[in-house]
Symmetry: C2
């Protein structure tokens, strides 16, 4: 519907918008409201509206009937409850394709006014009762996110009613009743269902206003310009914002491993079937996810060729060839590459993607002692990546037998924690493979022992860190305003915005301010700070502030005429909003120190949050409530696999008795932390495992996880 047609439609039902605003676009409702208010032409008081398009589960051959939900910004909408009320199965946020098909609009532009005679009868329209009954004025997009109209609740209702046909009517729902009723009955299931709504999105979009971090990381990543969805499902584009963080990690980690004598190399992405399947335990873990190339050009290949899911089996035949003598040991190679694991369940940006970037280190040693040392050295490097570079606290430990790497001897791990979901997340792992892969029936990698001349099979390690790290960082430090990256690891660590330029500013003054910004950026760059002067024309300072906040740049520096006169800049911290003028003299050092403070503050806050959520549990009845309270649980554990399975089963069932569609939210073992000093020491044959009452062996962390 073109704007002219829209105006005519409105006139038909005697609607006159109280104002039209151009250009107040932002994905944050609070900011959007501020921006509209600031524009001067908005009404004195108004509310925001959100519009979601859902698609119910539909037979593949049938045309879906999308559900358009129009609600007040602060109304809680729960797709499970809506579906139940409407008797529709598995409502999911609609894909962008579907939006285009039904509304010829992108996600930022869909609003109640996108409904027209041509599409109304093909969708199911649901209106928040509290809109039609309200006397407020509402801000509504008019088929373009850059155009906003102000309408009363009644006007919106009239507009929609006008579109009704004999068969198709607007459904008005009391969302408040909808959201409180089941909540009283089953407090646990509500949050699970909400989480799930967020987790289930694949190539989906949520409509502009009201993107909440807790619900919808994917949309939020896109808005923040970190990544974009891609036409092949489960694959994502890493935009410069997130790729630059990966480059920082690469650069730091490369320096460290080179110090340890590790060399970089590159092995082909293809693995022949016979090589891939050499290690049975190992391949069992990966085979359901392997992508196979069977055709080149128009010719079928004689044998299908796999794309590596990891490179143990691709590399080790050559280790056998290259390692001829103990003098060739240790052999320490690393690769930066991408691997493919074609998971069919719930791809999620950064966390679970079909192709992902990582490094994989593969080393061979003469002795177990040497291999053991390296496993821990690497794990500690990973800890530094998370804690020092990304300001993300992690707990190092060892995986249980059940959770260790397929085919390895033992696995060490870093476990992170996502406060908004209360879930644990595996951050990086460093495995000792033992002598499993070097055995004669496997890859047969041996040397003559230099001491006694005996055949000595090599001890191997493998270790990997992936772009998941970026996702973890953002989930830990992000907020409703954007990714809120830690200081050192955003695309820019400081952005400089010229301010105070008005209609009265002379060209000369403007040039002076802009030059000062440019100069400041140059000075900071010389001190090794990734600074950027944002001199874009045609955008207000407010727009720029919001833009960079969303992108998570940790420090903003403003320069206006007043600052120029005083030879200072106004610094504004992204993490806590604190403003402080700082002198331009010695600015490199000052900003560097300030960034370091921001970084350590971020880490301290996140650490405090994590620590507060790791709770000691010694009675089973406290276990599930602690999980439900978004905690990681430490128990004195018996270390038996049967008990581990049982814990998962019981904590899963207990958590979600009502909702059979919810993902299994049973608690898995996360790790046996190396440091258990904070818990009461286990007394042999006295301390009991709270899950099975057998003798406890180690303090072990359990939690719901990604």
């Amino acid at each position: 519907m073109a704007t002219n047609d829209l105006v005519q439609s409105l006139e038909k039902v005697s609607i006159k918008p109280s104002a039209t605003i151009i250009h107040a676009e932002t994905s944050s409702p609070a900011r959007w409201k501020d921006a509209l208010t600031a524009s001067g032409s908005a009404p004195a008081s108004f509310e925001l509206i959100k519009t979601f398009i859902y698609k119910p589960k539909t037979a593949k051959t049938a045309t879906p009937v999308p559900v358009v939900v129009i609600a007040r910004e602060e109304t809680e909408t729960n797709s499970g409850a809506i579906g139940k009320k409407l008797n529709l199965k598995e409502l999911r946020l609609a894909s962008e394709d579907l939006l285009t098909e039904f509304f010829s609009l992108d996600k930022n532009s869909v609003s109640p006014l996108s409904l027209s005679e041509s599409n109304f009868s093909r969708v199911l329209t649901v209106l928040d009762q509290s809109i039609s009954s309200s006397s407020s004025t509402f801000a509504v997009h008019a088929n373009s996110s850059s155009q906003t109209l102000f309408l009363s609740g009644k006007d919106i209702e009239s507009y929609l009613k006008k579109l009704e046909t004999a068969d198709v009517k607007v459904q008005e729902l009391d969302f408040q009743a909808l959201s409180t009723a089941p909540a009283a009955a089953a407090p646990a299931s509500k949050s699970v269902a909400k989480e799930k709504e967020g987790a289930k999105i694949e190539g989906a979009v949520q409509i502009a206003i009201g993107v909440k971090k807790e619900l919808d990381f994917p949309t939020w990543y896109t808005n923040a310009n970190m990544l974009d969805y891609y036409s092949v499902s489960g694959c994502y584009i890493l935009k410069p914002w997130s790729y630059s963080i990966w480059e920082e990690i690469q650069s730091w980690f490369n320096t460290e491993i080179k110090e340890l004598g590790v060399q970089n190399s590159y092995f082909p992405m293809f693995v022949s079937q016979s090589v891939l399947e050499r290690e049975k335990d190992h391949i069992e873990g990966f085979s359901p996810e392997v992508a196979w190339v069977t055709r080149a050009g128009s010719s079928d290949l004689e044998e299908p060729i796999a794309i590596r899911p990891t490179s143990e089996t691709a590399m080790y035949p050559y280790y056998a060839k290259w390692i001829r003598s103990h003098r060739d040991l240790p052999l320490k190679l690393n690769q930066w590459n991408s691997v493919v694991r074609w998971e069919f369940k719930n791809p999620q940006p950064f966390l679970r993607t079909r192709e992902f970037l990582w490094q994989e280190g593969h080393t061979a040693h003469l002795t177990k002692a040497e291999a053991d040392v390296e496993v821990r050295q690497i794990l500690d490097l990973y800890r530094q990546v998370y804690e020092d570079l990304l300001a993300v606290p992690v707990i190092p430990g060892i995986k249980t037998e059940k959770e260790k790497f397929a085919g390895g001897l033992y696995t060490t791990t870093l476990e992170g924690y996502i406060p908004t979901s209360g879930r644990g997340i595996q951050a990086a792992t460093s495995h000792c493979l033992g002598q499993n892969f070097s055995q004669p029936e496997m890859f047969n990698i041996f040397v003559e022992d230099p001491n006694d001349g005996s055949k000595s099979y090599v001890w191997q390690n493998s270790w990997g860190l992936s772009t998941r790290a970026i996702g973890v960082m953002v989930m830990v430090h992000g907020d409703n305003q954007g990714p809120g990256a830690s200081s050192a690891r955003s695309e820019h660590s400081g952005v400089i915005v010229p301010c105070g330029i008005t209609a009265k500013t002379t060209d000369e003054q403007r040039a002076q301010i802009n030059n000062a910004c440019e100069d400041l950026a140059k000075t900071l760059k010389k001190s090794g700070i990734r600074a950027k002067a944002d001199l874009r024309d045609g955008y207000t300072p407010g727009y720029k502030f919001n833009d960079w906040e969303q992108k998570g740049v940790p420090l903003r520096l403003e320069i206006g005429p007043h600052d120029l006169a005083k030879q200072q800049t106004l610094s504004v911290r992204r993490d806590n909003g604190v403003k402080n003028p700082i002198p331009l003299a010695n600015i490199g050092q000052t900003v560097d120190a300030l960034l370091k403070t921001i970084q350590s503050d971020l880490f301290a806050r996140a650490k405090e949050q994590y620590d507060a959520r790791v709770v000691e549990v010694t009675k089973w009845e406290d276990f599930v409530p602690a999980l439900d309270n978004k905690c990681i649980v430490a128990i004195p554990w018996c270390h038996t696999e049967a008990c581990e399975d049982d814990i998962k089963e019981r904590s899963g069932r207990a958590a979600e008795p009502q909702d059979e569609r919810a993902p299994s939210a049973g608690a898995k073992s996360l790790c046996i932390p190396f440091d258990h000093s904070r818990w009461t020491p286990i007394e042999p044959s006295k301390t009991k495992c709270p899950a099975c009452n057998m003798d406890a062996k180690h303090w072990t962390l359990f939690g719901r996880s990604y």
Copy 2:
């Protein structure tokens, strides 16, 4: 055949080796000989033998009969001539698999003594007549490259004759007659056939001794520890040696493009079929080589998914999405990734591989003028990579219409030259795509023109540099002794070897020398020089010298007791063998300067060589002889495609009248050089094209090429 069996076999024909030597392994015949001589237990004078295994063209269902050629090291063996003589088609060097099948030996261990009763009748044995008739002693491997026997020519003949059966006899050939006869008749075809022998190798090996750079780069790369063959044909492992050069290129190029405002990012390796096939001209160029994923785990995919052969079509749908306003321009993204082009013809390490690493830059601009400037800026960065980093001279120019990038507007290129083959090689290209990909029927990428509000389709460029660069560097600077990398770009630029340690050296003295080497390495590293102290036990200095020479480390520094006393080190240049003692004081600066001198000397030599081989030709009759003389030909050209096709056809036919199996060695246009100042200016309608006699337009380079 175990060594004991071998001894028995020799005894049967009354052969007693005059000496047995262990451990004198090297791929260079000259060095091997030196090492044997130095061992002390070798005869006073002896000659070397080479053994090649060829496979003739055989029906797929038939068992091949390998041809074992045993010749003196200096005998010229020509597979074409041997094949003709024996009436066998297309002799090719045998694959490693075939060696294992017939001899149960690796390539380094095959020798005349590998022939035994169990395999003799299954192969065709060809013996150099000049061996059996010689009175020399020959050094022969005894089924292990670490064991060398010394036998007379007669002994070798007797050994082989003993294996003869009623049906299968040893063939003795007069190789000298073989190689001189056709040479007189067709001088051109000989070198072509020899080149071909080298070029045709796929996963093939040439037997240990006598690996000549001209013939057999692949084996030579492997020996030099640069790469290894891989179980998936056409794919190669980049070992640390070559990968470290790639890292150097990445680091330098990243800094430069970031200065130009280019940002790194990562797009998925997968491309959906519909997106891939959007641009017809473009995909026509790539579709025969696209690898398709059709299965994941055990499930067939609904639609096959391509692995990117290049990313234009994968990226540009998102350019259309992201570029909404002229303020979003220019958009400049780059990726470091790998792409797959499943070529079926002659994979070659570095030059033609099914998967290769590269960077691909993709930029969008408001105006053609801006795009034009960037195309040349990037081309000049590529020139600096080749000339300044790798010391490889290149000629920048523009591709003809016939040779430009599929779907682009024009292509600029750097053309290199490989002296040993006399061929040109495309080194890197920077394309202006014009507005082809941005058109509405293509990816529809436009903005409103900021001046007049008109719809303005963006101007796009794409540009790429691949790991081929490493291959070119090595082919230009390598010699029979190894890759001979240019100074700055070997894995190490300087290696420090402790010398003068004898049986009389005390432990303390030895520790002093080793410490001095370690200290020197540390000092050099502090000056940013990639130095390494080679303190390996159990290897002689001579072994180490040879090892590092083979690996192409440009500078060797020796420290012995004498040097220690004088606080100096003996420097030895890899490129010219010049030795000079240099004081340890201020060593960082001295070595840095020396490395720079080596680098510029290498470049100057290669440039002189290239310049000397670019010849001006104005008469057709000089054209093919110039090609045959390993030259690149500059002609004043008419710039018509028909003439270009004709030149290729005629220069191909003319060059190899006798050999219908030779690869098309017709000359292609390489480029129209930007700088044509060295040639006689073209006079409009006076200067004629020597190929078709039409009016000449531009000086254009033609040559045989890779």
